[in-house]
């Protein structure tokens, strides 16, 4: 299976390495044509203002929205989360308005406020997750269709999922933390072959031919 990494700018090589380490073939995506044949897409950390310029210049916006509309999974970290959010605090135009959240850029301050902390992400198991926040954004508002996957101790939201779109304010790819990438790979496999999806398989105890 191939999963793309938006390679316009940022730590896309770290995402590609993480995908390779879990047995997925990473594909660098810089132009619309690069989206052909991939089953999911990671949007890396970096500078969202730079990514916005590069998405606009080479007309990537509509192809990326079309890709998301197929149901293939997208996973954004840090700047990637900003790129995927429907609203940006302060009124900047959204880039790919796929997640019904309001995101605040540089929410913790400047580089001196960047930090590491351990979080719990219940959907990914009991093991705490080591999280690296670098000039990180935060989610100020969560829409009704959005699941909160993780919060800081003070309650602020730092990881979300809405249907096929997952985003974190922190960088699993910098912490040697593969669980989010595994989740995306699983979602991508289900998207490729819905018959394999656990939710769509008949219940194992159901017997064929029984009267309803």
């Amino acid at each position: 299976m191939k999963i793309g990494v938006l390679a316009l700018q940022g730590d896309f090589a770290e995402h590609a390495r993480m995908l390779a380490s879990i047995g997925v073939e990473p594909v660098e995506v810089r132009l619309p044509v690069d989206l052909d044949g991939i089953s999911g897409l990671c949007l890396p950390g970096g500078e969202s203002t730079t990514m916005r310029r590069l998405i606009d210049r080479w007309d990537l916006r509509q192809p990326l929205l079309d890709f998301a509309a197929t149901g293939a999974p997208l996973f954004g970290t840090c700047a990637g989360m900003i790129v995927l959010s429907r609203e940006i605090t302060g009124g900047e135009d959204p880039i790919l308005p796929l997640l019904d959240v309001t995101v605040q850029r540089n929410a913790f301050g400047r580089q001196l406020d960047s930090f590491e902390a351990d979080l719990t992400v219940p959907v990914l198991g009991d093991q705490p997750m080591h999280a690296v926040f670098i000039r990180a954004p935060i989610i100020d508002r969560v829409g009704p269709g959005v699941d909160v996957l993780a919060r800081l101790d003070d309650g602020r939201v730092v990881a979300v999922r809405e249907r096929n779109v997952v985003a974190t304010a922190f960088h699993p790819e910098l912490a040697g933390e593969p669980r989010f990438h595994r989740l995306i790979a699983t979602m991508a496999a289900e998207h490729d072959d819905p018959g394999e999806g656990a939710g769509r398989r008949p219940h194992p105890t159901r017997r064929a031919g029984l009267p309803r």
Partner: protein, 295 residues
């Protein structure tokens, strides 16, 4: 674990976020806005671009904190600022201002002819220049969280940048071919800690992000160093000494992303007006060369 700030991971992590991007020298908040709008990943706040520092002569120092703060207020992207080599008090002042990265830079007049700043002692991360692998590893052992080759700043001439980048990368390839017992001698020759030398030999790369600086003045220059293996570029005088800075800045950003696509490089290189006027290295007297500062 309670939250921990200014760790080695967060320090070098910010540089990882800048990869594939262009860091631009700016001297006013207006320049900083132009750079941000053009797609710069960060700006370097300084009073004069290197070409003007070179022309002015005299002692070049840290910029006026008021100017640095006005640039920090003007943009949402990271702001870097330069301290003189060895001038740890200038670095303390820059840290107190809250800049995102300090460049201990040979473009300013060195304050210490023997010692660089002990960068481990700071919460803010540092980027340092190098001409070769030994210099890079010495800076990393002092705590630099990002490395850039120095090039020859303010010349608009990419030749030194290419020479130094090739030197660093070919020395790394040479280490990769060595037996363990040979790495001890290599460390001695490189005048760098053995642990760092061994790490580079195993990983095939520096333990921190490596950009190119000093002489990039066209989109083709940026793509050249990217194809050679740089992880991003600093552009100093090349943007605001060109005829149309906003267009040149954006074209260099595009070229740094699409560095392997000659059709796109041709497209973004069209009609940019004249780049900065360059200087041949032979025209610069030895005493005025900046790259030789640092040890």
């Amino acid at each position: 674990m309670s939250p921990e700030t200014s760790t080695w991971t967060t320090k070098k992590g910010l540089a990882q976020m800048l990869k594939g991007g262009v860091i631009m020298d700016v001297v006013t908040p207006e320049h900083a806005k132009i750079a941000e709008d053009a797609g710069a990943v960060a700006v370097m706040a300084l009073e004069r671009v290197p070409a003007d520092i070179r022309a002015a002569g005299g002692v070049a120092r840290m910029s006026d904190p008021a100017m640095i703060v006005s640039i920090m207020d003007a943009v949402s992207i990271p702001v870097m600022a330069k301290a003189r080599i060895g001038h740890f008090v200038e670095a303390q002042i820059l840290e107190a201002l809250g800049v995102d990265y300090i460049d201990e830079s040979e473009v300013l007049t060195p304050a210490d002819e023997t010692n660089h700043i002990d960068k481990h002692a700071f919460k803010v991360p540092f980027v340092c220049g190098c001409r070769n692998l030994g210099e890079a590893l010495r800076r990393i052992s002092e705590g630099a969280a990002m490395i850039r080759t120095k090039g020859e700043a303010g010349t608009g001439n990419v030749v030194e940048a290419v020479r130094q980048l090739r030197s660093v990368l070919s020395e790394i390839r040479r280490l990769q071919g060595m037996r363990d017992d040979e790495l001890f001698v290599a460390a001695k020759e490189l005048q760098a800690p053995y642990e760092l030398v061994k790490g580079v030999a195993e990983e095939g790369k520096l333990p921190v992000v490596n950009f190119v600086a000093g002489g990039i003045s066209t989109p083709a220059d940026a793509a050249l160093v990217m194809q050679l293996g740089s992880e991003g570029v600093f552009v100093g005088s090349g943007i605001f000494k060109s005829e149309d800075p906003a267009r040149m800045a954006n074209a260099i950003v595009q070229a740094t992303t699409h560095f392997e696509d000659p059709k796109i490089l041709a497209d973004v290189s069209k009609g940019l007006g004249s780049p900065m006027r360059g200087l041949a290295l032979e025209q610069i007297p030895e005493a005025e060369r900046l790259a030789v500062r640092g040890w």
